[in-house]
Structures are given as C-alpha cells and as structure tokens.
C-alpha cells in the first residue's frame, strides 16, 4: 500500500520538475531575444569615446560571439549558462557568475528577512479576522493594510533612515559589508523591515489568507472535527493555512524581488537589485542577463517548492493535477 501511494507522488513531482525546466528554458529564450533585438552593438558602451579600428571591432565581435547566426549564439550562450559561465561584466571585467553568487546572497537575506516581517504582520491579522469574524479592530487594520500597500517604498525608506539617524544615531546607509566594525544586523534590520512593510504585498497576503481560512472554517469536515471535540486548528491547518501560505509566498516572490531593487537603491544595499540598476545604466548586458535569469530561477524554484508542499500534503494532488498555483 505504502509503495503504491508513493508512485503517483513521484510522478506528480517529476511533472513539476519538467515544467520548471521548460519554464526556465522559456525564460532564457525571452532574455536572449530581448537582448538580441537590442539596437546598436552591445559593446559600443564599452568602447565609448574611442574609435576602434575595423580589426579591433571584429576581434571584439569574435570574442563576444557576435558573428554567428542567432540560434548558434543562443545555443552557445545557453551552453555557457548550463556550465555556470555567465560571461564577464563589461564594466568590471569580472566573471558574472561569481558576482551573482556574491550579490545573490545579499538579496536572499534581504528578501527572506522581509518576507518574514511581512508574514509576522499579515498572519496574525488574517487569522484573527478569519476566526473571530468582524470585530472593532478589523476595520482600522484593514485600512492600515491598504495604506501601507499604497505607500511608495522609497519614501518609507527615507522616513526610516531619518528616524534611525535622529532617534538612534545610527547611519544605516553604510553597506553591510563595509560596516564590519559595528553590529551588522542593525544595518540589515532597517532595510529588511522597510521592504517587509512596503513591498506592496501585505494587504493581498492578509486578504488571501483570511479568505482561505474562512472558506475552510465552514467546511463540513471542520464541523465534524468540532463535533468530535478535536482541535479545529489542527484539522484546518493543512488546507486553511499551510497550502494558502505556501501559495501566496510563492506567488509574491517576484513582487518582493521587484521591491528589493528599490530598497537596495535607497539603502545602498550591495545586492542583485542595485547591480541590476547599475547594469541597466551601463548597458552591461552579461550582468543584466545573469540577474534576470537568476531572479526568474528564484521565482520558479519558489513555485516548485510550493508544488512540492502541495503534493506532499494533499492526497488528491497527484490525481487531480490542479492548475499551477496562482493566488487570485
């Protein structure tokens, strides 16, 4: 019995894996096509202010693999990606892969931390209002969630910086890396909180969790659980909390990464977002390509993890094949 139960789950999971791989392939095509269509030579920025000889131009073309037809270019680029070769930055000349790993970790701290902050605020509000129904506190909390999600995150950042300078005497604009002397977590805390509150997903997370929890609370099987004197929370946990939580987190990863671009700019945080901003200004193609790929990969991996949880938790998942999770 146990063995027979495992097989559909493995099947469902391998289907998800294949889907993720196909989507990442699509992502690489999109990124490539956008940059392939770009006007002008990608390296003209690099040679700005010089008038290179014809030979030099051809040599650089050769080095960048430009003269090949587009599909050959794509395949060699993709082959490079798969071997971890993302090219070298046009601005710094460093290999992009190493740079990505370095900034990727900084952004990972920032996004995971801020996700935690968002959830610490959203979950209690959602649970409270779904279990207790409309109470006096409900309306102000709702309004607050609306206000916060409409707040421009950069301005929120300024307010936070101002308060930290004038109230606590801490200047949070020194990047985490260079502030080796002081307590680094203090510098990290402020941007994390600002992104956690201001990433614009707060009110949607509250709403989604509350809707799902309220929907589950009136299910027949919850009534059965109450009738037999069992813990309602334990019976409602999987469908009412775990599944919607993972769904909404996976769905909101892109938004938080987008918010990170701005918060990193405000706080001078040495992450992917700041690097993307720099690369967009310099038209540093290998870097921006690498960042786009990495960001998309995060989104897909988040989504994959959500599916893994869903399939593991829901005995019906391997049979019914629910549409790939989008929180609506």
């Amino acid at each position: 019995m146990k063995l027979a139960a495992i097989r559909p789950i493995t099947l469902a999971l391998s289907r998800e894996l294949v889907l993720t791989a196909l989507l990442l392939l699509g992502v690489s095509v999109v990124v490539f096509v956008i940059l392939y269509l770009a006007p002008g030579d990608p390296f003209s920025v690099l040679l700005e202010g010089q008038t290179p000889s014809h030979e030099a131009r051809a040599g650089i073309r050769e080095a960048l693999g430009v003269p090949k037809p587009w599909y050959a270019q794509y395949l060699s680029w993709l082959g490079g990606l798969l071997r971890g070769n993302f090219g070298t930055s046009m601005r710094t000349g460093l290999p992009v892969f190493g740079e990505l790993v370095r900034v990727g970790f900084h952004t990972l701290y920032l996004t995971l931390g801020s996700m935690l902050v968002t959830l610490l605020i959203a979950v209690p509000i959602a649970l409270r209002s779904s279990v207790r129904g409309a109470t006096g506190l409900n309306w102000p909390l709702t309004m607050l969630a609306y206000l916060v999600s409409a707040l421009p995150v950069f301005w929120l950042g300024y307010v936070a910086i101002y308060i930290s300078i004038h109230q606590f005497g801490v200047f949070p604009l020194i990047s985490r890396v260079s502030a080796s002397a002081g307590p680094t977590w203090l510098y990290a805390l402020l941007p994390i909180c600002v992104l956690g509150i201001g990433n614009g997903t707060l009110s949607e997370i509250v709403r989604y969790l509350r809707e799902e929890m309220s929907r589950v609370m009136v299910e027949d099987y919850i009534r059965t659980a109450r009738a037999k004197g069992a813990s309602v929370w334990r019976h409602a946990f999987k469908e009412g909390f775990l599944i919607p939580m993972t769904e909404i987190i996976a769905a909101k990863i892109p938004f938080i990464l987008g918010g990170a671009v701005i918060v990193e700019q405000v706080f001078n945080w040495p992450g992917m977002g700041r690097m993307a901003w720099q690369a967009a200004q310099d038209r540093d193609f290998p870097v921006i390509m690498g960042i786009a790929m990495l960001a998309a990969a995060w989104v897909r991996v988040g989504s994959l993890l959500q599916r893994v949880v869903y399939v593991a938790v829901n005995p019906r998942a391997s049979k019914e094949g629910r549409r790939v999770g989008r929180a609506e």
């Binding site: 969630a145 409409a150 995150v153 950069f154 300024y158 977002g273 200004q281 609506e328």
Partner: protein
Amino acid sequence: MKHYVQVASEAGESSDRPVWKDADTLDLAYVGYGLLIVTLVLVSYVLGAFKWLPYDPEYIRVDLLNAPPGSAGHLLGTDFLGRDILSRLIVSIQAYFLPGLIAIVISLVLGTGLGTAAAYRGGKVEVLVTYFNNLVDSFPRLVLILLVIAAFKPDIYYIMVVVGVTGVPVCASLVAGKIRFLRQKNFIEAAHVLGLPTHVIVLKHILWHHCTPLLVIQATLGMGEAILIETSLSYLGFGVQEPTPSWGNMVQAGANYFFQGKFWPSTAPALAILSTILGFHLLGDGLNSILEGKRGT
C-alpha cells in the same frame, strides 16, 4: 408560450434593482473615494495639458527654497530650487496618463484574448496560455523593465509595453475563470444550440455581458500599477528626467533635504502617490465587491 429565466444569473445580476442599493456602505465609500481620485487625475491631466497652472513648473526662485506649504502664494510650498510644488504635481500626471492607458489596453486586449482562447478552446491552447502566463510571471516586473532599459533605452513607451505584457496573466486567468464558470452553467452551450455564431457568443454574450465589470476593475487596478511602476522608475532615474517633474523624481530630488529635516518637498509627491494608488486600489476593490460579489480586504 413559456418564458425561461436566464440560468446564468449571479447574485444581484438578474434583478432590476440598481446594484448600489444593495451595496455595503464601506464599499460605496471606497468607490466614492476612488472616483474622486480619478476625477482629480483627469482634471490635473487637462490642466497640465493646457498649462493652466498657478506657476511655471520649471521656474526657479532662488529667494524661496524649500518653502513650507501656504507661503507666499505657493499653496503647497516650493522645492529645493524654489519651484512651485503644486504646479509640478499637476504637470507630473502628463508622464503617467497616456503611458498608463497604453499599458492597460495591452493587458486587457491580450489578456482577454488569451483568457477567452484558453477557456473556450481548452486542450493545447489552454496549456500554451498557462505556459505563457507562468513564463511572464517568472520575471519580477522591475527586473524585466531594467533588462528592456538596458537593451533599448529608458523610454516610457517601451516600459509601458512591458508593464502591459506583465499584466496579461492576471487578466487572462480572471477572464478564463469567468468563462469556465459560465460554461458550468451550460448557457454557452444553450447559445450554441440556438445557432448563434461563435463570435457573437464570445463578444456579446460572454465578454460584453459578463466580463465588463471584471475588465473595468482590472483597468482600475492596472492604472494604479502603472503609476506605481512609473514613480519607481523615475525614482531610479530611468523615467522622466529633471527638470521635467514626475512624482518619483520629485521624491528623489527632495531626499537630501529630507535628511536635513525639510520633509515637505519629498513628502508632498509621496502623499500624491499614496492617495492616488490608494484611490485606484479602493475603487477596484469596491467595484469588485459590489459588482462581482467578492469581498475585498
């Protein structure tokens, strides 16, 4: 002769009572505030287009820097170059309005098309549309925009095309969900049995009669998104360039003075962003609750 009542009726849809009679007071307040903001945006757009402004938004007054609101005829004060903030706020709408509309049109047209195709044809088309939606959703919007900026140039129309395309999946899945719901009620099949041509069914009976509220709501929310993206980009320095004002670059320009305790030049545009985005969100959610019977936050 026997009359059949239309089967596909949803809450409140089939009755002749105007919808707002049954609506929640709170939802009406949301919609009221949202409509006020929409009106303000439209009026500001017209004022800016005809240059009916209290001051020239780019006129520099060295004698009156960072003036507080209400001083010397400047209703909302002046910025770090002594330029009138009110005029600059009004003119900023120019930067959002048309590009925002373009983004919305792209989202709605593409989204409706894909959503209809997916739900109507099903099978392979549906798989492809789902793939497309997931593909677009894989990119953080701002990262995709930075990619396009790097590849092309920081042009607001390119950017709004990206915003439009990234808005497609939400719209497509909402429309597809709606059509699936209608299919369950068999009334599309009934229309086929009656011999109506497919395009009439899709355009008139499905999209016009049942999806209009949904599309209006999406348009509203989409406008809010477009404004938020534009302000973010202006803040990052890729949107509207100084001296032409936009809310994003106004916040950014005021930032240095913010830390010196001169909050206003940066806060005024931030409040404009806040109240406008809030207006579009509340309008969308209020309409959603009233027209579609879905409870918002």
